[in-house]
Amino acid sequence: MRKLLCLLAATALFVTGCAGAGSLGNGERTLVVAIVSNAQMKDAISLKGEFEKKNPGVNLKFVSLPENEARAKITASTATQGGEFDVVMISNYEAPQWAANGWLENLEPHMKATPGYDENDFIPSIRDSLSYQNQMYAVPFYGESSFVAYRKDLFQKAGITMPAHPTWAQIAEYAAKLDDKQAGVAGICLRGKPGWGESLAPFTTVANTFGAQYFDKDWNAKLTSPEFTKAANFYVNLVREHGEVGASSAGFTECGTQYAQGNVAMWYDATSMTGTTEDPSTSHVVGKNGYAPAPVDKTQASGWLYAWSLAIPKVAKDKDDAWKFMAWMTDKEYAKKVGEAYGWNRVPPGTRKSVYEIPQYKDAAKAYAQPTLDGIANANQQKTMVSAPPYPGIQFVGIPEFQDLGTRVSQQLSAAIAGQTSVADALEQSQKYAETVGKSYQEVAG
């Protein structure tokens, strides 16, 4: 345990890091890329030979980790200016904050100097979410909102029609009707695995549309407000009564497996789920799925906005090669490469408008292309919240402390889902954590 702290102290002291781009003589350069190991990123890793062929002398070395571990490593390295990585994968949560801290390279000049890159092709809401003072500091690899996938065949059998814009009350009612223990089909899959990027993301969109917020405009924590309590009770009860088995440890991956195996009738989650639900090699329900916009209560939309993106830390040694690689992974051609190599369903969605014009993609993605685009287009605070909070972000609070606060709140939520604590107690405890964070902002403001 002290070892960990020693490490930390050592990192803080000797901000040298290990040389990322070691030159191996004869002009060979190694580019170290820290990346999250999701399906679409794995496809990119397996296509790396193509990049290396085009750019002789640049070798790619990927450090790929699951989301939580990757985030911890990348944040620690960037915050301490460690310089281990030439390219890091971050999201629209980190990009504006880190840009404001001066930790990231401004990408505008690089984009303008690259012919055919066309940064105006990015979907505006995604572009804005990765910008600081109207300059992009990260380029999106894939973008997502959230929506509901549902089994058209099961809906038909039960005599239910999914409305064009469902409300949470309707979804809860359908979940109760479709919940069939005998057939081994649960009503709905909702994440319960702790983590601010896991269970808290869908839950926060529910809270938003119920009119709840983490902080009011004066940074007073609001986790025990009537709206928040109502939202938490709704979410926990829905998942406890008509949700999947093992809900308290089910995240995006687990829900994907359950849905693809036909064990749940509905699934509210990231729009990028189509990589799982529509892939014949993993899913037993291909062609049976409908997609409806994120359910609402008091607001007109409720989908989140998230984009896994690539950025260059300020301290990276080899920025030009780093940019070359990022451009290769995020340009207009990349979608075609993946489409032809692995199938059009595996194209990273939700970043470039031009992708949605490719005939093969349009054909392969006709069930979900439009819902995805609509979700992303409507993902802004004006449409998903009842009033403007003092922080950026929809399914997250865009402040550095949220990684920690969000994880703690999600642990409480997950304990309530597991039945180890009551919703009221969970919120009471979460409120205490949030008050501590809110206070530090009140001090700054006041």
Partner: protein, 310 residues
Amino acid sequence: MSTLSVPAGTAPATTSRTEKKATNKTGKRRLPLLPALIFVIAVTQIPFLLTLFYSFQSWNLVRPGSQHFVGLQNYVDVFTDSTFLGALLNTVVLTVVCVFVSLLLGLGLAILLDRKFAGRGFVRTLLITPFLILPAAGALLWKTTMFDPTFGLLHFVFNTDVDWLSQFPLAAVMAQIVWQWTPFMMLLTLAGLQSQSKEVLEAASVDGANRWRTFFSITLPHLSRFLQLATLLGAIYIVNSFDAIFLMTQGGPGTASTNLPFYIYQRAFEGFDIGQSSAMGVVVVILTMIVATFALRLMFRAFSVDGGTK
């Protein structure tokens, strides 16, 4: 891990010559050891001093410019944080239960292995294996092959759909740790059993003592120092359990299976709260030192008293 001072009065007297000469001589004799000592101090104590320094600061790594002196505020926060207290309780429960159960199992297995039978060496090797497996591999093995509610052996044997890791998280982690540490306890007690003098045992049977009587009156007192050593070493390692919790439950559901090392890891590498995590580290070091000093006292007492064998 933690600095321990050997209790006064236990170090053997080095010389019996006149005081001054003696110190001079030993000073000279120890001079070549100085670089090593300085090195040890540098790599162990300087980071600790830094940790101590950080524990008086409020500093969030992802908020540049947030570093400022807050005095003892971090320590106040640590002791009013219900999660920390829960983690402390979990650490105590985990350590006490795991040490006790693995010691009992180890003692039982050692007694069985202490007699001659065909294939003894082979059985002993098999029993030691869990201790030789990488802790991370052992944890993953238990998570998937044993506890998984769909593919797990427990599901297969008992035919239940119990999701062990979310319904009994701490117990599941403890099972894995006991499995891993039982062989260690077994080896130590076995060494103790095999160092018993045959004459004393023969004398006991001549005097008409039965098996139980012999065990409780002769074997157990003889074993006591070995058991104490096993307890101490086991406790020192098990207090720091991290792999099993990180890989099997991630401290969840909620914080049901979070122990102090894992909690500090979370505060440092997920919360990036340097001040808080340093303060926790310091508190844990102090607690460990108190417990370890106490345990060491016991041990030295046990070793200085002759254990009944001649």
